[in-house]
């Protein structure tokens, strides 16, 4: 019997693949890696690219998955791919963080003007109601 290892490919949003494999390749940061069962423990980042899984005891074609980066953990009897759901990078993350921060500040500023607006509107409604009452009283007086 050929040696096999358990392969799990998961992303934060879903379990993408889980099954036994004879051979596995992934685009690691240092270059494409091919892994057979009983590989030494390895932990590496992976680049966006294709992951190929040769299924165990089957004549089916290899499973090919696209991952947009992530982490790869190799144990002698199993492989875990922690796939990202979006392309990541230090500078991209940084930009996103800045954007989120700016948005929060911006929205807070706007909220203030919105609140002023709401308050002004409430005052206006009140004033109109008062006017209507005065109008009514005046009519009755005549």
């Amino acid at each position: 019997m050929a040696m096999t290892m358990h392969v799990d490919v998961v992303s934060a949003e879903a379990l993408i693949f889980s099954g036994n494999a004879e051979f596995f390749t992934a685009p690691a940061e240092g270059g494409e890696v091919g892994i057979y069962p009983r590989h030494a423990p390895l932990l590496t980042r992976i680049r966006p690219g294709a992951v190929r899984i040769k299924l165990a005891n089957s004549n089916e074609p290899d499973v090919i998955l696209y991952v947009s980066g992530g982490l790869l953990e190799v144990q002698p009897d199993g492989i875990t791919v922690l796939a990202d759901t979006a392309i990541r990078g230090a500078d991209i993350d940084e930009a996103k963080a800045r954007e989120a921060k700016a948005k929060a500040e911006e929205a807070l500023k706007n909220r203030k003007t919105q609140m002023d607006y709401a308050m002004a509107q409430a005052e206006l409604v009140e004033a109109v109601a008062k006017l209507a009452v005065i109008e009514k009283l005046r009519k009755r007086g005549h």
Binding site: A12, L42, A100, A107
Partner: protein
């Protein structure tokens, strides 16, 4: 006495409202099913990443990660508050926000400042209104949570933690227990307790090969772990939201039924009274002749 026509109009308007609440109930039911599936789909990632981190903590202990180190004094606390974007979901957001406010009070009594990251519109406007210091936010997430939308706001908080501007990070969200029960929860996010990574795991003693180097990989792993935890909370919150909305809308529909029943009764009584009055007038008129 209210005229027959007025009551009829009122009945019609209540019926229209009921149509809306019934439709919303059905929509929430179907959305809840999907949200629950997504919540379950997110679980394996969290489990796997925790397993990897636990292997790591056993195999490699030379690099004590800042996420795992407890700070001596807590001067500033970060709060990540997860709420829904839309209302009409019963007490869901109110309860979560009340919990957040209580927590904030508790911290400020101990002399700690508070910085808030809000996820979801409701929490954002609530915190903004109450003058909390909102450092980042994610709003308008839609029905499907996407990690991509959360990365930025989370990074702001985590960066603040690393820079020492925040000494502790707590996560507030509504846990989905079942369709009828959702519970507002506070969980400590940072520093991570080392307990999370210990488990009845295999005792591998092999040293890992790291590529490019240990620090980078561990940093990446840890930040993804934090994101996974928050993503899971958001997914759970969304399932809770739909469930709460379903229940709230069902109650509204049932109430509308009751109101319609009462109004119908009142209408019939009014009609009957008018007829009786008319009859007695005719009879007394005839008697007079």
């Amino acid at each position: 006495m209210a005229g027959g026509k007025e009551i009829r109009t009122k009945i019609k308007s209540v019926k229209n409202t009921q149509k809306i609440t019934r439709a919303m109930e059905m929509v929430a039911t179907s959305k809840m099913r999907k949200a629950q599936e997504r919540m379950r789909a997110a679980r394996p990632y969290g489990e796997k990443i925790r397993a990897v981190a636990s292997h790591l903590s056993q195999a490699f202990v030379d690099y004590p990660h800042p996420y795992l180190q407890k700070r001596d004094s807590v001067k500033r606390v970060g709060l990540i508050v997860v709420t829904s974007d839309k209302g009409l979901c019963g007490g869901l957001n109110t309860n979560a926000l009340r919990l957040a406010v209580n927590k904030m009070k508790e911290y400020s009594q101990n002399g700690a400042e508070i910085a808030v990251t809000t996820i979801g519109n409701k929490g954002f406007s609530f915190m903004g209104r109450n003058g909390a210091q909102v450092i980042s936010s994610a709003v308008g997430l839609g029905d499907t949570p996407h990690l991509e939308a959360l990365v930025g706001p989370i990074k702001v908080m985590v960066d603040a933690y690393i820079a020492g501007e925040v000494d502790e990070v707590q996560l507030v969200y509504t846990k989905f227990i079942n369709t009828m029960k959702q519970e507002p929860t506070v969980e400590q996010l940072l520093p991570l307790s080392g307990e999370d990574f210990k488990g009845p795991d295999h005792d591998y003693n092999w040293e890992y090969l790291f590529e490019p180097d240990a620090k980078t990989v561990i940093d990446d792993l840890m930040s993804r772990y934090i994101e996974a935890l928050i993503y899971q909370a958001v997914a759970e919150n969304m399932a809770s939201e739909q469930a709460a909305r379903m229940v709230a809308m069902k109650a509204a529909t049932d109430n509308a039924d009751k109101v319609i029943g009462n109004l119908q009764l009142l209408y019939n009584k009014t009609r009957q009274a008018a007829i009786t009055k008319e009859l007695s007038e005719i009879v007394s008129g005839a008697a007079a002749v």
